[in-house]
């Protein structure tokens, strides 16, 4: 067995460690998915189909998808600027701000949810300033976008930072030497080399945003058809003992985020292959 699986075989313990790894993954990941698949397969397909056609379900999927997409785009813009400024410029408190970027990872989502809601509620510190402008953030789709931007920011910034650090300023200087202005240098030299990292970060933020629950449900208001996100609808269906509907919606949402992540993996593999052939 051992020699068939390993081509080095110099170190002991492959069998034991692989066995424990497979057992744990099997119990934690495969068994629950198998249970879900079995449950759906033995279910009433017509009922599942009509669940997915419910206007309320479609509204929730549309809302989750569109807010996650808009939030990912906005986070890409702000995250790009943030990463650029943090890597390239020196200013007071830079290291502190850089450390704080991970806050949305570390802060429990329920805490960020209630904090953002309080901040953007009509009588909150920011909501109070938005109200005279006629903008209501809390309890609207805008609030959902804000919460998802908060959650997605570290994904974009942390994927971009190493890419910007690797960017050789000599390239920009060379472009400038060849007569490119700042805009042309950015558009034709800087942006193309950072684009893969930016796309990866934004996709990670998008996939996370599709499934985000804790930080969104407080600020969303949760009105059916209007501000009810798909993960919340899964919870509601579970609480109503509509296990089939919940399972169907869960599979649909998981397929959406998995295919986004799969596409970005393929894209990255291509970029890597391209880089490799270029340098080789």
């Amino acid at each position: 067995m051992h020699s068939r699986f390993s081509n080095r075989g110099a170190l002991p313990g492959l069998g034991l460690s692989l066995g424990i790894t497979l057992a744990y993954l099997g119990v934690m990941l495969l068994l629950p998915w198998a249970a879900l698949a079995g449950f759906l397969a033995s279910g009433d397909w017509r009922a599942i189909g009509s669940t997915l056609r419910e206007p309320r379900v479609w509204a929730a999927i549309r809302l989750s998808f569109s807010t996650a997409l808009i939030a990912a785009l906005l986070t890409a813009v702000m995250g790009f600027l943030t990463a650029w400024v943090l890597v390239r410029y020196r200013f007071p408190f830079r290291r502190w701000l850089d450390g704080l970027i991970d806050l949305p990872f570390a802060l429990p989502t329920a805490v960020s949810g209630i904090a953002l809601t309080t901040l953007f509620a009509p009588n909150g510190w920011i909501g109070r300033m938005l109200e005279p402008l006629g903008v209501q953030a809390a309890y609207t789709p805008l609030g959902i976008v804000i919460a998802l931007m908060f959650i997605g920011l570290p994904f974009v910034v942390r994927t971009l930072q190493p890419a910007i650090e690797d960017l050789d300023p000599a390239m920009e200087e060379a472009a400038a030497c060849l007569g490119a202005g700042p805009w042309a240098t950015f558009r034709r030299v800087v942006f193309p080399s950072l684009f893969p990292a930016l796309l990866t970060g934004a996709t990670l933020a998008f996939a996370r945003g599709l499934g985000e629950y804790g930080s969104v449900i407080f600020i969303a208001g949760n009105l059916p058809m209007k501000t009810e996100i798909a993960p919340l609808l899964i919870v509601i269906k579970l609480e109503e003992y509509d296990y089939q509907g919940a399972a169907a919606l869960a599979v649909l949402m998981s397929l959406m985020s998995l295919s986004a992540l799969w596409a970005i993996n393929r894209f990255q593999a291509r970029v890597e292959a391209f880089r490799y052939t270029e340098t080789a």
Partner: protein
């Protein structure tokens, strides 16, 4: 935009004025750059600082401001009421249990995936990442599907009197599920980068598997392991969606601290909710700081450990 560059008058990004080549080589920072560029840079810094202050610092400030709205006495009362204490205990218990499971798993997974090559290795690697792609709510639903009363396994377990869903084991499983990749994901790249030469040397000197791991591998990965544990702890303490689905919200017995925050908030007991939230916030800040402190030590682990390359450095 395009203008013919001359040798002695090379334009630098944003610097339209003439500038000798030597200065150009030292970078575009500082020295008498075009005032427009300096303005742009200052504006960019101002926008980013303003953005991060609104987005990251204000929410932190709000947590502590709201928690202390009714004074210290109310704050202390809110975090020492029996339900809050029970929530803290349950959170710690679930965190420690998930941490133990995932640390043991992470070490074994890193040993087989980081130090060996075999068929199906890439598939296993992407399988480990699966919890990242799944909504926490879906993670909770998966556990309900497997262990819920209506399911085959749940029915058998219920006959034996074992409750998983709406009980503490479910909360532990949900927490372990969402944090499953965190330690393995830190360890696998490190162990892969460090190679197997030191371990092979130990084997030639007669060490057994456990001795190799304990005396050779573990010292090399200790910072990465600690780093992964910090990340995993932070995430496990704050897990909300998955735990919310499996917990059943039984007050004082299956509410973790984040669920306790939610219940209080939905009852309009805002300052009590923020008081409980402030405990989680302090824990998050501690994990951020320790992560920062660890990062430098961690960088040293990340360098490849190769006997050969070390020998090359000594003359």
């Amino acid at each position: 935009m395009m203008r013919p560059p001359t040798v002695e008058n090379r334009p630098l990004i944003g610097d339209r004025g003439a500038r000798p080549l030597r200065k150009a080589a030292s970078g575009s920072r500082g020295t008498g750059a075009d005032s427009g560029v300096r303005l742009l840079r200052a504006a960019a810094i101002a926008v980013v600082v303003g953005f991060l202050a609104t987005f990251l610092i204000l929410p932190l400030a709000v947590v502590f401001r709201e928690a202390l709205r009714h004074g210290w006495r109310a704050y202390v009362a809110a975090i020492t009421e029996p339900e809050a204490l029970a929530a803290v205990r349950l959170t710690l218990c679930a965190t420690v249990a998930a941490l133990l499971l995932n640390t043991v798993f992470g070490l074994f997974a890193a040993w087989c995936l980081g130090k060996h090559r075999f068929r199906g290795r890439n598939l296993l690697l992407s399988l480990i990442d699966l919890p990242y792609a799944v909504s926490p709510v879906v993670a909770g639903l998966l556990l309900v599907m497997l262990f819920g009363r209506h399911s085959w396994l749940g029915g058998i377990l219920a006959q034996w009197g074992i409750e998983i869903i709406f009980a503490v084991p479910g909360i532990i499983l949900a927490t372990a599920f969402v944090t499953l990749p965190m330690i393995a994901r830190e360890l696998i790249p490190i162990m892969e980068a460090q190679g197997t030469e030191e371990e092979e040397a130990a084997r030639l000197l007669g060490a057994n598997g456990f001795q190799i791991f304990w005396h050779v591998t573990l010292p090399n990965i200790r910072w990465a392991l600690l780093y992964g544990i910090v990340l995993c702890t932070a995430r496990a303490m704050g897990e909300f969606g998955a735990v919310s689905v499996v917990s059943g919200h039984i007050r004082g017995s299956t509410t973790t601290l984040p669920l306790h925050v939610e219940i209080l908030y939905n009852e309009y007991r805002f300052s009590a909710a923020f008081a409980a939230a402030s405990l989680l916030t302090i824990a998050a800040l501690v994990s951020l700081i320790s992560k920062r402190v660890m990062e430098r030590a961690y960088e040293q682990d990340r360098r490849p450990h190769k006997i050969q390359s070390r020998r090359k450095n000594t003359p």
